[in-house]
Assembly symmetry: C2
Homo-oligomer: 418 residues x 2
């Protein structure tokens, strides 16, 4: 059971999480809890680091040594809450259970876990609490696992223990067919494949970081994303099954803050696109989709999308590049990307067709299309993003059935029975 | 160099401590810093523990796991401050340098230190920062060393490294002949012996905890208690030397919150005092001085002093005891103890005489007298405590010479020269 920052933001929430773990234990399970730092703890520590460093970049080893205290505080408080509620519990830092990582501070990768001590304590009837997000190098330095690190810990521990279930408690009810803040009729998905989750996460659904999902896919660990506020089931993220193919589209995602850079008159020589993208990459800018087209004799057009927040950095890099390559750059900052995701696309056709028709009917212009085996994305005007999302969500019948519509459908059966 | 909580209460103070360490390094020293938790960090963590535990006593192992984060935060911030100021630095938790303790959580005792990694880093030109107050058991559990624990770490590290100097930076200028808040003329002591410091500490001077001083005495580590606010020398706590004997009295101490319990008509049978004190001890009450006198045929009077805050607990224990022993109890809650301390007493006489005469002349009644080889204590009325301290401080000429008096004494020499 993993509890993220908002699910353990204060002592009362920590006690609630403890009670939930105890209930799970009473149903006959051995329970391991993975916890993050409390609510805003990481922000407080980062601010302290900024002040102590007088504006210089703090050494990464020391940043990890500092940030890891956030989880160490929560594990001990959780153990106290469990003991106060009558359970037997023990907390472990990453070092104490031999969660060994490489030494790439601030984004370390797990190399091995020594589960012996966890098993020992579980067998002694204890609830074991493990600090998420952190690891330890072979020489004992503290590392952290980077963004989404606590979920990586969760999946790694579940895989190492061969856990039956791996529950990720959050402040949302699960994974939805679309962001419910934008699409009110969005429906909670019961089961979704790792691959669909990966596409949705990279497309802007922020519940689970991709690294954790990739890890879960690799070790085939089912993740149950659920709410810490009630007992209803959430979404199971699992390996793809045949029955999933019956559902054509699982969800619609929107990335609302994209910009596009288009380079005209690029010399069409081998490696020129690579050269452009290399310049962009060393500028620290993450490129989304890339399109290269031939535009006449020995000239090509290269266009790519970037996050809006990276646009001003991209402008500088591109300005230099255009001088060298003698090409012309056009920048567009008003774009969004709407995507449909679903393993069902592998066998069902007409998904693209229905998507394009929906947008066309609504007079929303498609600037660009990118696809993968289980995803179709359209670049559109940002002002139309949310509307497009709602229309496509409707077009694939992803929403909850309206109460009225549901009743109507059931009535005939009722008549038959009477 | 050890920096306590008030000397590193915020980022600015941490940076000031870092600059001081760098200056010391530039004078050709290898520098190891031992740091406590920041200002009120321990209080914040303790309050979180109280809330998570819903008022129950938290497990000590978890309390240690929690509290040790306080020092882990400071070591990493100190390393950042040092690096930002251009030095090369590395921080270590107790676990990372193999500061192994027994497993008596919340008051563990150090068993061994593996100084190899400290030497490695010092030899690589780094300033090494070590978390005070904490240790680690042989199985990797985090422990804490109890009250005054950071000073114990300081002395233990200094002893293990065979350090030239061991500097304890505080918010006071050093050890004084008396508490300057009570005796304005109190003078900073330049050198004091471990034994005198131990007597002064147990008598109410709260700069250094006895455990650290005992440790320093055992391994003959000189401690320099000095201010983190300026560069003036503080007080050296060192092994006793012959020259110290010239100074008859080093300091005057006052314990202002004592109560006395007197039991009359106690059956004068062997072991009865032990029985009384055992009952008191298992009640968790710390007894100060004990006096037993024979008062007639087979009856004795047993009297002892306790901290005022323990008096109500003592009343309950004694009430039970008196029923069994059929003795009468008298409780006095208005007492204080004034003491003079000095290794010079070993060869100089008349110390007691001068002390008693001073009190008699001021019409301060002595309720009780206790002595050791280097200490004389008088139990007196609490209302007279501060006045008695000032009078005795004057009687032994411990204060700073008044500017006027000093000039007068020097004048004759000046006249001679002219």
């Amino acid at each position: 059971m993993k509890f993220g920052g908002t699910s353990i933001a204060d002592a009362e929430k920590i006690r609630a999480a403890a009670r939930r773990a105890i209930r799970t234990g009473k149903r006959g399970h051995q329970v391991v809890m993975v916890v993050s730092a409390m609510g805003k703890a990481t922000d407080v520590l980062t601010e302290l680091a900024r002040k102590a460093s007088s504006g210089t970049e703090p050494p990464r080893r020391e940043m990890d040594q500092l940030l890891a205290t956030g989880e160490q505080v929560t594990i001990s408080l959780m153990a106290m809450a469990l003991e106060a509620a009558g359970a037997s519990a023990i907390s472990f830092t990453a070092g104490q259970i031999g969660m060994v990582t490489d030494d790439v501070h601030t984004k370390a990768k797990i190399k091995s876990i020594d589960v012996r001590r966890i098993h020992e304590q579980l067998d002694a009837g204890k609830i074991v609490i493990i600090a998420g997000f952190q690891g330890v190098t072979e020489t004992g330095a503290v590392t952290t696992l980077g963004r989404g690190g606590s979920n990586v810990t969760l999946v790694a521990i579940a895989a190492a223990l061969k856990a039956e279930v791996c529950e990720n408690y959050t402040d949302v009810d699960g994974i939805f067919t679309a962001d419910p803040r934008i699409v009110p009729s969005a429906r909670k998905i019961e089961r979704i494949s790792y691959d669909e989750m990966l596409e949705l996460a990279s497309l802007g659904a922020s519940v689970l970081h991709n690294r954790a999902v990739e890890f879960a896919k690799k070790y085939d660990v089912p993740i149950h994303v659920r709410s810490s506020l009630h007992n209803r089931k959430g979404t199971m993220i699992v390996a793809e099954t045949e029955s999933m193919e019956r559902i054509v589209v699982s969800g619609v995602a929107l990335k609302g803050d994209l910009a596009r850079v288009t380079l005209h008159d690029v010399p069409d020589t081998p490696g020129v696109a690579a050269r452009i993208l290399h310049a962009i990459a060393i500028g620290g800018i993450v490129v989304d989709d890339i399109i290269q087209t031939i535009a006449g004799k020995r000239k090509a057009t290269v266009s790519f999308t970037v996050e809006f927040s990276d646009l001003s950095d991209a402008r500088k890099v591109i300005a230099k590049l255009c001088k060298t390559l003698k090409c012309k750059a056009i920048f567009e900052d008003h774009l969004a990307k709407v995507s449909v995701v679903g393993v069902g696309m592998r066998i069902h056709t007409h998904v693209a067709e229905r998507m394009f028709a929906t947008l066309a009917k609504a007079k929303i212009n498609i600037e660009n299309i990118t696809t993968s085996e289980i995803k179709i994305s359209c670049l559109i005007d940002r002002g139309q993003g949310k509307r497009a999302m709602r229309l496509i969500h409707d077009a694939f019948n992803l929403g909850r059935k309206k109460p009225g519509a549901g009743k109507k459908k059931k009535k005939p059966h009722a008549h038959k029975a009477s």
